[in-house]
Each structure stands twice: as C-alpha cells, then as structure tokens.
C-alpha cells in the first residue's frame, strides 16, 4: 500500500485572460500509508490545486508527486476523488452512477450489481437506487458521490471540501458516516478543507498551507489520546487546544490572503 510524497511541487495558474499567477511554491510533504491527512488553508492558497495535481487532473510542471514510489501520470481509479459539488451524472440514477466505475473495470454484470447494491447500503441510501440526483437532498447526493468513488476501491481517497456545500447539521452527520466508513475499510485520505474544526476532528495530521503562493507552513499531529468519540471528543480541552493552535496558524494566512485578493 503506497504512501504519497510531494517534492518541491510548484504550479503556475495560467488563466485564458489575465496574468499567470504562482499558485504553489515548493510544496513538500509525505503522507503515510492509511493516514488521514487534512490540507487546511485560506481560500486561494492552492490546496485544491494540490489535490488535483495529486489526482492527475492537472499535469505536474515542476517538482514531483509520487504514489508508492511511482510518479503520478494522469487520473486513475487508484486515486478516487470526491468533489464539493458532488459531480454526479445528473442523467443517471443513483444506482447507475455507482455502477459507472464498476463498468469501466470490466466486472461481470452480476458482480457489478451486487457490489453497487452493497455500496448503496453502505451509505444508507437503500430505497433510492432509482432516484435521479435532482430528486435528492445535498447530503444524499454527497453520499452517492462517496459511494460511487468507494465502489471502485481506490487505495487513496481524495476529497475536495466534500461537505462544504452542506448545511451544518448535515455536515456533522456526514463526519460520523465518513469516520465509520474509514474504520471499516481504512484508506489513505487526503482531505482539503478550510474548516479548522473539521480538519482537527477528522484527520490524523493536519498540514497547514500558507496564503498564495501556497507552501506547507506546518504539519500538526491531531490524533487524540482521549477515548472519547464524536461530540464528547469535541468538548474535551485537548480538542479545543488543538483547534486553537491551528486556528492561530491559519488566521494569519487568512488575513494575508484577504489582502492579496483582487
């Protein structure tokens, strides 16, 4: 099972109109196998860009990104991705969305259907298999997106602010669901967010990024010694201290990011 390594990754964003902008500057980071790493930083710091580079959706121009020792070369089902706005195929039903990746793997039909159904049930959407995304709430759509990505059993899971489009209550529920899924079948997760509490709660380590051009400012361990779970954990002083520490790190960068925004 591969770890991920970023070495001196630089990236320049070249919009069709306007001047090129340096988005990432010398990002170096190691992600351990089966680790849940959060990328935390202010808007525009390049954290999503870093994720897309890792996913192989944007070519790496300078520096190196390697998974299990091999450099990243284009998208692959080994690195599954979940987007903030769900990116479900609106013309396909829930079941058809989840089946999509399985079809691409050339699995025989009976096995595909069985596997898809397993994942429908994993995310508690039994009964909605034949609904279209337009008929579902935001939380349900995101669960479909997660099921679709997990169904192809990627070794690495990339998540780009996956709960950002959900309301606070739904988001809290989704946190629990995600943790439960990870306990059942642990994977390496790289999770982009700008929400400090979310990062501290979900991740084993949090990498704080600076404002644009993005660098890794500091990496903080967020495994907890306490045995508390869920809400109880979030009320311990250990938790609060970690959040406070990270918030201070992020706040300076957030202020700097505000200043440089056009």
């Amino acid at each position: 099972m591969p770890g991920i390594s970023f070495r001196e990754v630089r990236h320049t964003y070249r919009p069709p109109r306007g001047k090129p902008v340096l988005a990432l500057e010398g990002v170096s980071l190691e992600v351990q196998d089966r680790e849940f790493l959060a990328l935390l930083g202010p808007s525009g710091c390049g954290k999503s860009t870093l994720l897309y580079l890792l996913g192989g959706f944007i070519p790496v121009e300078q520096g190196e990104i390697a998974v299990g020792g091999k450099p990243v070369n284009g998208p692959s089902p080994d690195r599954g991705i979940v987007f903030q706005h769900f990116a479900l195929f609106p013309w396909k039903t829930v079941r058809q969305n989840i089946l999509y990746g399985l079809e691409k793997q050339g699995m025989p039909k009976a096995e595909r259907e069985k596997r898809a159904q397993e994942f429908v049930e994993l995310v508690h959407l039994k009964g909605f298999e034949d609904s279209y995304p337009s008929q579902l709430s935001g939380g349900m759509r995101q669960r479909v997106a997660i099921a679709r990505t997990l169904a192809v059993e990627p070794e690495i899971l990339l998540m780009d602010e996956p709960f950002g489009a959900l309301d606070a209550q739904t988001r809290a529920l989704m946190h629990e669901e995600l943790l439960a899924i990870m306990r059942r079948a642990p994977k390496t997760v790289v999770f982009v967010t700008h929400d400090v509490r979310e990062a501290v709660y979900l991740a084993d380590r949090v990498a704080v990024m600076s404002a644009r051009p993005g660098r890794i400012k500091e990496v903080v361990d967020t495994k907890f010694k306490s045995n508390a779970q869920g809400e109880a954990l979030q009320q311990t002083s250990e938790f609060a201290a970690k959040v406070d520490h990270l918030w201070k790190l992020v706040r300076d960068e957030a202020i700097r990011a505000q200043g440089t925004q056009q």
């Binding site: 070249r14 069709p16 109109r17 306007g18 001047k19 090129p20």
Partner: protein, 263 residues
Amino acid sequence: MARVNDPSRREAYLTALRVGSGVAFFAAWQFTAMSHVFSDFLLPSVPVVFARLLHDLVSGDLLYGILLTLIRTFIGFVLAAVGGIVLGVSIARIPAVRWFFDPLVSIGLPMPKIAFLPIFMLWFGVFDTSKVLMVTFSSIFPVIVESWSGTQNIDKYMTWSAMSLGVNRHRFLWEIALPAALPQVFTGLQVALPIALIVDIVCEMQMGGEGMGGSIMTDMRFADSPGVFAYIIAIAVVGMILVKAMEIVRRRLLVWHQEAQAA
C-alpha cells in the same frame, strides 16, 4: 493555442483569427472552383464573383438594392419593436390583456409565419406594404415574448426594496421595472432583427421587383450564377453589420449590466 493575456491584444488576436478563417474560406472556395470538380456554373471562381460584386457596386445597383431592403426591414422592425414592447409590457402588467394574448402568442410563436405571405399579398398587394407588414408580423413575436418575460420576472427582492423605499406604482413602472427589463427586451430586439431581414428577403424573392431578394431571384432565373453568389456575399455582409451594430448598441445601452462588467 497561444496564451494572450492583454485584453486589447486579445481583441486583435480574435479579429486576426476571424480574418484568417475568412481568408481560408475564400481560399478553399477558389481552390475547389479551380479544380473544376463542379462546373463554372455551379461554382464560379472567386475573382469572377468579386468582379461582379464590384461592377454592381460601382453601377449603384447594389447600393440601391441594399437600401431598399434595409428600409423595408427597418420599418417593419421598428413597428415590431414598438408594438411588441407595448404589447409585451401590457401582457405582463394587465391580467386581462395577458388572458387574451397568452394563448395567441404561444400558438403563434412556433408557427412558420412566412406561410401567411400569400394572405398578406391578397390583403395588401404586391408592393412594399405587404412586405413591411409581413416583416412586422414575423418579428413581433420574439419582442413580445422577451418584453413580457423581462417585465414580469423582475427580481422580487428588488421590487420589495423599491416598495419599502416608498416608490409609487406609476413611477415604479418607469423607473424600476422598465430599466430592469431592458436587457431582456433588448435581447428580444436582437433576435427580431435577423428575422426581419430574413423575412424581408424572402418576401422580395417571392414578389420580385427591386431590392436584394428580387435581384437575386432575377439572377437565378437568368442562370446568372456569379450574380447570385455576389448577392449572397452582399447579403451576408449586410447581416453581419446589422448584428454587430446591435451588439454595439447593446453594450452602450446596457453598460451597467453585469455581462458588460464580466467582459
């Protein structure tokens, strides 16, 4: 593709691309003509057509034809614009008017109104009146629909803000509703103008006489293919100029609109 970052250079780049593809188009035409895959009759060569174009331009025939076509188109268009806007706004604001015209407009919209040309010829003769009225009849529908929609679908939050600022009904119409509806009304006009031109040309082709449509049909009947092609180029240019003119007017008129800022 080259990255062009400076906005004015980008305009220049786009224009160069347009001109370039125009040149490529004529080059392809000339090449095909010269290869004689098709006869000179079916596809006259570019120089022959341009010579003809120049000849008609110099003799004044071309400009006269363009003028007649444009006059008819404009009169019909203006009638459609005024009538369409008045009707569209009334439909939006007066329920009785809406009740009456809603089914008529929605039935009329997808109908090929050109089919009514013989009726108009019967009623108004074979001269300019029937052409102009036909143009009006055909191009009024998009104006009605867009004016109606633009006036009716004003952002309710803007309306509520205005009301809480104490504006009365009459002033609301002129000072808030109509300016807010203007982008969509103008879109309706932008759709209507090319329709006006198309319909006018078809009317001229059918009824003959002077004007671009009439000339092109005459040339066709005399198997004068360079003439036919020359007129097509002339009509294409006229069409392009009209559309471009509307875009420029839109930008000036709607300088406050968010699409202008996005550009």
